[in-house]
């Protein structure tokens, strides 16, 4: 099965559990299980090749310009992790089906789980470090959903937030580190990076890259001092804890350390940072775990400790330690997942996981007892279980390690950690399962159904088998994965055996087990001491830190954003002006190359009226109606200017938009105050005027400079001009650009326009649905109203004009391809024709005759345009390539036929629909019961107008 498919399967399958939950919890769980099984089988098909030492690859250039390629590769290490993720994932899915209660939304659970699983598989199979980062962030996000799955528990939400903050911050550091790494090597492909050890370690950027990458790995793998999030993530349902903290999430950090081991390890920095962090974490986690009364808390800190152990082994940088690390990753995953599941069973059946309230369960839950005890003995490092084997390898390696010249520090601390590790493992067995049967359990415990104990039982089977026949069962996997870690070099000598003779490691193991037993006997006294000792509470520190950060952020934000929009605008404009002035100062201005054109009398008159209108408008803007009239003049002059300067299309568009805009603003002004009060001081007006003046001067000077100079390089306009007729079949180059060359732009524009109209419609609905409606219905007009709101003259005139105006629209539309016109302008004209009816005959009259909803008109316009664009695919051309030909239909003259006209029809409909929907929405505000004449010129013989008038009177 292709690696793409293996990585994609969990994501694809994630849809099903949430959808199928309506078909029952079993269906939902089966969908998740089958997806995982399929991916697992696909992975196993690669097993023979992997064990032969081959590397499976799948490559796809995604964004080669950024160096981001969807390249996947699978070697021994990736194979080991992927099989842990998918294999244990399968068991978790089975276990969770029986663990979750009826009230829990199980569909969501499996969806989150599959998303998380997919992200994990993605991490371990990515060949591109940028791709790896994407998956890395995805695990942070999906684990947030999983940890916070019980949304009703505040601890769940807090734990999820803490996990996301810590691992997310680490992820940020990791991005930096990975980018530096890719920069050093010049490639973001792991396979390339792994071949460049010397280049990376000799680079001056080695240390920053190392620190940032380690920050990412340590936060993810809960290494000291970032270990605190892991215990708080225990508020998650137990299947999540079992999955995240045994085989997946926290192992991602270790995976990264192992993956980059060939190029990053072997330096003093690596040894002292990684091995020391691991050592401290290992000891600290083990000590704290002994004093946790919560079963999952104990397991959480034990996980922290074991992660520390593996980190330390990778930190040693020797090949033997790398083998031991790989082996312990396998062993820890098996026994820890089994232990979490057992703890979940105890919690599920006894309704508590407080060790102080448990005891004597071996009589009540014999199956759970056997499973949990075997797994815990393995965790303690007792032979003949698998935990013993890898722990012995670890102890053997520590005995050979010097830390700052001292041969005793590392083995000494390792033995202390091992003693505590044995102690808490024994406590897990003794205090929960041994002792007398109690009478005060919150619920009567008994063994659960096979569905729940089957998964941990399978894992414990592995624990025992790997312990007894390690070389046969785990040998090949360890060898392949370890070979991948050390980058294909020759493996050191090691043997996966229970008995190596009387070695130092054996003595250390004996000390650990005996010491652990003694500690357990002293537990009561030590516990009292521990409770009395002062220790920092990580959660409180974390929350205080977050609190301080939030307050600082708020201080900065509030200082900058005081809610004064004018200030934001002033700052922005001033900044732009300063920036532009800097550009002007630092650049050189070429000499003018174009001759100035003579201005005739008419343009000067137009210019003068524009200036006067603008000046008056600013001076008298407090009278809003007057300002609206004046801006109309400005718009008219602008459209005349377009016409004079050889842009008839623009002139037509501008003048029709002008009409629509003024009507729109009038409609709005109807409900708003007609005057703007004086609010700013003279000083503020002076300041605003200065800013505006400077900006205006700058913009004017800039465009003057542009207009008096020629283009430096040939423009692309020449291409459009040359191909307008040849390629687009039209002589109006502007229209051909709109519907053909830049048709995609136009397509986007009509969609934007349609969305704008729909936004207006939605806002109207929202406002009219609120208490505003009552105000509007009872509102008295603040200006004197016309005696007859639908004067007969106007009604007659607009009715006569309607077909004429529509015909003009049709004419403008059809000639658009060759002469000024086109869909935009025709749409505006048609819209104005219809608006006239609303104005003259009233809203009620017009909307009664409105057969097609404007939403549908917008939609059909966009669809027609899209269909025209797609149509060009059938002839094998790109989207929106237009085609044209000539048709001769007697008695008509030969006329041209172009698909672009069909596209223009879409534009036309979208514009008509959008303009009318916008205005109609605004007009709905004015609707009042009984307002205006209901029957403007509505000739209906069935109606007895006289009678109605009488009854109204």
């Amino acid at each position: 099965m292709s690696l793409f498919l293996i990585a994609a399967l969990p994501f694809l399958g994630a849809v099903f559990p949430a959808l199928l939950i309506r078909a029952g919890r079993n269906t939902s769980a089966s969908a998740a299980g089958l997806t995982t099984l399929l991916a697992f089988i696909g992975l196993m098909l690669h097993a023979p090749a992997i064990f032969r030492g081959e590397v499976i690859q799948a490559q796809f250039d995604w964004l080669p310009g950024l160096g981001l390629n969807a390249n996947f590769f699978l070697d021994g290490l990736g194979f080991l992790f992927a099989s842990l993720i998918l294999g244990i994932g399968l068991l978790i899915i089975l276990y969770a089906r029986f663990y979750l209660s009826r009230e829990d939304p199980m569909g969501n659970f499996y969806t989150y789980l599959l998303l998380f699983q997919g992200a994990m598989v993605g991490i371990v199979t990515s060949d591109n470090i940028l791709l790896l980062l994407i998956f890395w962030e995805l695990t942070s996000l999906s684990s947030f959903l999983l940890i916070g799955y019980w949304k009703h528990l505040p601890e769940g939400r807090q734990g999820a937030r803490m996990a996301l903050t810590v691992t997310g911050a680490g992820g940020l550091a990791l991005i930096g580190g990975m980018l530096i790494l890719g920069n050093i090597v010049g490639s973001y492909d792991l396979t390339v990076i792994l071949q460049n050890k010397e280049m990376i370690q000799n680079s001056p950027l080695y240390l920053p890259a190392l620190l940032l990458i380690l920050l990412g790995a340590f936060t993810k793998s809960a290494q000291f001092p970032f270990h605190f999030w892991l215990p708080h993530a225990m508020a998650a349902p137990t299947p999540v804890s079992a999955y995240l903290h045994s085989a997946t999430m926290v192992k991602a950090g270790l995976f990264l350390l192992a993956r980059l081991w060939p190029v990053l390890s072997g330096t003093l920095e690596w040894f002292y940072i990684v091995a020391t962090t691991g050592l401290v974490t290992m000891v600290l986690g083990a000590v704290i775990a002994l004093f946790k009364d919560d079963l999952k808390g104990l397991l959480a800190f034990s996980t922290v400790s074991h992660l520390g152990l593996i980190t330390m082994l990778l930190g040693f940088g020797t090949k033997f330690a790398a083998v031991a690390a790989v082996f312990h990753i396998i062993n820890h995953a098996t026994f820890k997942a089994a232990l979490f599941m057992s703890a979940g069973i105890v919690d599920h059946e006894a309704h508590t996981r407080d060790i102080k309230r448990l005891g004597g369960l071996r009589f009540l839950m014999p199956i759970t007892f056997v499973i949990a005890s075997l797994a815990a003995l393995s965790m303690a490092g007792v032979p003949p279980f698998n935990g013993f084997l890898s722990k012995e390898m670890m102890l053997e390696e520590t005995a050979r390690t010097f830390w700052a010249g001292s041969p005793l520090i590392v083995p000494g601390l390792a033995v202390i950690a091992a003693i505590f590790s044995a102690a808490y493992s024994f406590r897990f067995i003794v205090h929960v399962f041994f002792g007398p049967k109690r009478q005060d359990y919150p619920a009567t415990p008994h063994d659960p159904g096979a569905g729940m104990w089957l998964a941990p039982a399978l894992l414990v089977g592995l624990v025992v088998l790997i312990g007894l026949f390690s070389a046969a069962i785990a040998g090949p996997l360890v060898a392949t994965a370890a070979t991948a870690v050390i980058n294909g070099e020759k493996l050191p000598y090691y043997s996966l055996k229970l008995w190596h003779g009387f070695t130092p490691a054996l003595y250390m193991s004996v000390v650990a087990v005996v010491g652990g037993a003694i500690l357990l006997m002293l537990h009561r006294r030590l516990d009292a001491l521990w409770a009395a000792a002062p220790r920092p509470e990580a959660k409180a520190i974390f929350e205080a830190l977050i609190d301080r950060l939030t307050r600082f952020a708020r201080f900065v934000t509030d200082g900058l954003h005081n809610g004064s929009m004018g200030r934001y605008a002033a700052v922005m404009i001033t900044f732009s002006a300063v920036l532009s002035f800097y550009a002007y100062q630092s650049g050189t201005l070429s000499v003018p190359t174009r001759e100035l054109q003579e201005a005739g009398l008419i343009p000067i008159l137009g210019w003068a009226s524009l200036l006067v209108a603008t000046g008056f408008m600013v001076a008298m803007h407090r009278n809003r109606l007057l300002a609206l009239v004046l801006i109309g003049i400005v718009g008219l002059v602008v459209s005349m200017g377009f016409n004079y300067l050889s842009a008839p299309d623009l002139a037509l568009t501008q003048i029709s938009v002008e009409v629509v805009t003024i009507i729109l603003m009038l409609l709005a002004l109807n409900f708003m105050p007609k005057e703007t009060p004086v609010e700013s001081s003279a000083g503020q007006r002076l300041r605003d005027g200065t800013i505006a003046g400077i900006a205006g001067l700058g913009v004017g000077a800039l465009i003057y400079a542009i207009m008096t100079r020629d283009f430096l390089a040939p423009t692309i306009s020449d291409f459009h001009w040359a191909n307008s007729y040849k390629g687009g079949g039209g002589t109006n180059a502007v229209n051909v650009i709109l519907v053909d060359f830049r048709g995609f732009d136009t397509f986007g524009e009509i969609i934007v326009l349609g969305i704008a109209a729909l936004v207006i419609f939605a806002l109207t609905e929202a406002v009219l649905g609120s208490r505003v409606r009552a105000y509007l219905l009872n509102r008295k007009p603040d200006l004197p109203q016309a005696g007859d709101s639908h004067p007969m003259m106007m009604v007659v005139a607009t009715r006569v004009m309607m077909p004429l105006a529509l015909m003009v629209a049709a004419y403008i539309f059809f000639r658009g391809h060759n002469l000024p016109g086109g869909g935009f302008i025709a749409g505006l004209i048609a819209a104005i024709a219809i608006i006239m009816q609303y104005m003259a005959s009233g809203f009620a009259w017009a909307s009664e005759r409105q057969r097609y909803p404007y939403h549908a008109i917008i939609g059909s316009g966009v669809l027609i345009a899209a269909a025209t664009g797609l149509g060009s695919w059938f002839s094998g051309s790109a989207f929106l390539t237009s085609d044209f030909g000539y048709i001769h239909l007697p008695p008509l003259k030969e006329f041209e036929w172009a698909t672009a006209a069909l596209f223009d029809l879409g534009v036309f409909l979208a514009v008509v629909g959008a303009v009318l929907l916008a205005l109609e929405s605004l007009a709905r505000f004015a609707w009042q019961p009984g307002g205006g004449s209901d029957h403007a010129m509505d000739i209906n013989p069935a109606r007895d107008d006289a009678a109605q008038t009488e009854s109204e009177a």
Binding site: L596, H621, V638, V657, T708, A733, L738, F824
Partner: protein, 117 residues
């Protein structure tokens, strides 16, 4: 001619910015409209000015013509600026009707107020 257009663009920009810096919604909307004119004319003028030479091909002879590309861009810009104006007008109207207040500055509790600009 160039000077007329350039000065008109400058004046429209200045007037638009001045009105945008006001404190009530209506003048700000008018200011945005003036700015739209200024920007549209600016874009159009980057194609250089030319009178009496629309960008229409003559099938039989080579003719002088204005630059069609800025015209096409400005045409859609005009229509889009109508859409934008309409949305802003609607938001302003909805806000005014809901709070009976058309000031644009916000105080801390999110209501409109006319304090220091």
């Amino acid at each position: 001619m160039e000077f007329l257009v350039a000065s008109a663009v400058g004046v429209l920009t200045a007037a638009g910015i001045y009105l945008v810096l006001r404190r009530r919604t209506f003048p700000v909307i008018l200011g945005i409209s003036l700015l739209s004119y200024a920007v549209n004319v600016f874009l159009f003028a980057t194609g250089r000015l030319m009178s009496g030479a629309p960008a229409i091909l003559n099938k039989y002879e080579e003719v002088a013509h204005a630059d069609p590309l800025p015209q096409a861009l400005v045409l859609t810009a005009i229509v889009i600026s109508f859409g934008m104006t309409a949305v802003v007008v609607m938001i302003a109207l909805g806000a005014y009707l809901s709070s009976r207040d058309d000031r644009i500055n916000l105080t801390d509790d999110g209501t409109a107020a006319g304090d220091d600009a």
